[in-house]
Amino acid sequence: MISTGNRPRYIRNGLLIDPSQGIEALHDLELSDGRIVAIMEPGTAPEGAQTIDASGLWVCPGLIDIHVHFREPGQEYKEDLASGSRSAVAGGFTTVVCMPNTSPPVHSREVVSLLRRRSQEIGLCDVLVCGAISRDLRGERLADLGEMASAGAVAFSDDGRPVMDAGLLRRALEYASDLKRPLMLHEEDFGLTSGGCMHEGRISTRAGLRGMPISGESGMIARDLELLEEFGGRLHICHLSTEAGLRLVRTARQRGLPVTCEVTPHHLFLTDAAVLGSEYHSHTKMNPPLRPQRHVDALRQGLVDGTVAAIATDHAPHSDTEKDHDFSCSAFGVTGLETSLGLTLKLVEEGVIGRARAVELLTSGPASVLGLDDRGGLQAGSRADLCLIDPDAEWVVDPNQGFSRSVNTPFVGWTLRGRCAATLYGGRVVFDGRSIAD
């Protein structure tokens, strides 16, 4: 019986899927003191009160989402670290990386420390911090990158906004390189996208809305890859949404440039047609916007050929009030932590990727993007962060049953197959399939 608060000694009869070690077979798992002790032959672990029976379940490393917005400090009405952590572990995630566009923004060691302390107090999952690139996210001067790194920041980003000034981005690349931290970039050229609220194309024209053209994203990616090549550093492209952008990343990677990219679940399933199809529903509004089918197809191909390292949700909770406007006035963004796994498994169901690749995109892939060597796998000695997946459980997306404080998801009413049956963090069951541990 899996229940919250338990610290099992063994996980028995599960299908272990650990892409970092090339494991995809029945194994038992031994845990102790919050760590993984050993992978055992299947069926050899003793049964009993200290054993979780994982028959029919996949046993995977705890999932990792390197791009979420938890709105703390400052906007706790729509989410905070506590509600966000609950949403995360309900989705199978044991590590998340928070973006800095809070109020105040995460641009100094004090805010980084605050968030790290809160993460430890809440104790449901590991909330890592991405610090701002520029002070106040204004894109003018560097934020305290070194101090933030010492306080625990794992990367830097001005996410929510691009770094429009190439000169500043050059310095950020160089400086962050000394600190061995990557830059996570939101790629958008305001000169091309300003005023836009969806993809610019025949759908936006038919809908009578201002759009954001492809080159608003790809042009910026091209620029930043040039900077990377000339000045060094490490670059990670956030929420890649365009075929052209993906092509640029693929070519750069083939030439050996240190660049990675992530894609959101919604960009793998929905197109800009959803805006018209839903009659301008604000839950189809996000940045970067939903794109036409050929971009969705290209991104899926990127998952297959390895150009895309990670699936990351860009979990962006907003209150009903902020979404209860006409389309152009509504806030950009949708939630994603509790639907990410189900949608990634839907890609498996549709034959786009195999299950090991699916797990990789949610575990070792994101871990490697940020150099998080101590997680994303089931190596002996690593912290016992686990996600037990029931691959056959069918469920209907209902955000009112979810744990996030916000309900803005475009996947309402979707039937998904596969969900998290249990989440263990540091060896403790923090989610048992129904409820969250205290």
Partner: protein, 325 residues
């Protein structure tokens, strides 16, 4: 927050977004039959406007709210006159500035309006999609009086009505729409409606004023030179040039636009004898249309205004009065 129906993949795009006969939200999909019915009714209504007592009892006791979130005197007056001539209680509700800026959500405004039990709401808003937003939340009929750069269906209906009055059957007729197509809800609604009525619409504009995916999204052609098409046109519809488009570098300055695309006397003289010149108003004299042409015999701008009131009376009648409730 109104729940959304599950988004199907792939999305099936609607063919008729007009909302007719419950609402009038757009001309995108409005049937030719509905348009003809509106024209026939408008013809009757126009007579009312020419009598000494300009009143019908049809909508007596009904409540019409003109919810204008964007300034407009001409359209509002036209709707107000139309409603009052039908005998309705017409109330004007002005809310300038975006609801977000004021702190009140459009949803709250919708619920407030709904609580007053209107029979019909006309809405003009700076954001495309706002009429759909209201139609999803209100129990009454919604008429789009212009939403952002999306549609202005009543304008297109009065334009098509005017064209029908002057040219008869519009099938095969060559209509030119000249100006900022990309940002003109008048152009967009007209393209849909005129195409439905069988006309051949060509947009004449610099490339900067043609929207993305134009040929796939809208049933019209684009040509960059007005002089090539003047002699075969049956009607030319001039759009108002907005000065802020200069700031956005859509065109360098008034004079250049006027030279390349303006309806000047030389061009007006080359039109066929029966061809007419239209403009939704207000006109920028000397920019898109020369003063002498605007005041000349081919321009039917004032007919459009009179037809506008009649057409809006017809809309009220068919949305509310005909049911006899």
């Amino acid at each position: 927050m109104k729940p959304v129906s599950p988004i199907a993949v792939p999305v099936v795009l609607p063919t008729d977004r007009s909302g007719w006969p419950n609402h009038l939200l757009s001309c995108d999909g409005l049937s030719a039959e509905a348009a003809q019915q509106l024209f026939a009714t408008a013809r009757e209504m126009r007579q009312v406007g020419r009598r000494r007592v300009k009143k019908l009892p049809t909508l007596r006791g009904r409540t019409i709210i003109n919810a204008f979130f964007e300034n407009s005197t001409r359209t509002r007056v036209s709707f107000e006159l139309a409603g009052k001539r039908m005998g309705a209680d017409v109330i004007n509700f002005s809310a300038s500035g975006s609801s977000a800026a004021k702190g009140e959500t459009l949803g709250d405004t919708a619920r407030t309006l709904d609580a007053m039990n209107p029979d019909l709401i006309t809405v003009r808003h700076g954001a495309g999609g706002a009429p759909w937003f209201l139609a999803q939340r209100l129990g009454c009929a919604v008429v789009n009086a212009g939403d952002g750069i999306n549609e202005h269906p009543t304008q297109a209906l009065l334009d098509a009505f005017t064209l029908t009055e002057h040219l008869g059957d519009l099938r095969g007729r060559k209509i030119l729409i000249v100006g900022d197509i990309a940002h003109s809800r008048v152009a967009r609604s007209n393209i849909h409606l005129l195409n439905t009525l069988g006309a051949e619409v060509t947009c004449v504009a610099p490339r900067t004023m043609i929207p993305a995916g134009f040929s796939q999204a809208l049933p019209a052609r684009w040509h960059g030179n007005l002089d090539d098409l003047i002699e075969t046109a049956d009607a030319v519809m001039m759009l108002r040039i907005q000065r802020e488009r200069m700031q956005q570098s859509l065109f360098p300055q008034d004079r250049e636009f006027s030279i390349r695309f303006g309806m000047n006397p030389a061009r007006a003289d080359r039109l066929q004898e029966h061809a007419i010149i239209m403009h939704p108003g207000p006109i920028n004299r000397g920019v898109e249309i020369d003063p002498s042409v605007a005041d000349g015999r081919r321009a039917v701008i004032l007919d459009q205004v009179e037809n506008g009131v009649a057409l809006r009376m017809a809309i009220g009648f068919l949305l509310l009065g005909a049911s006899g409730e």
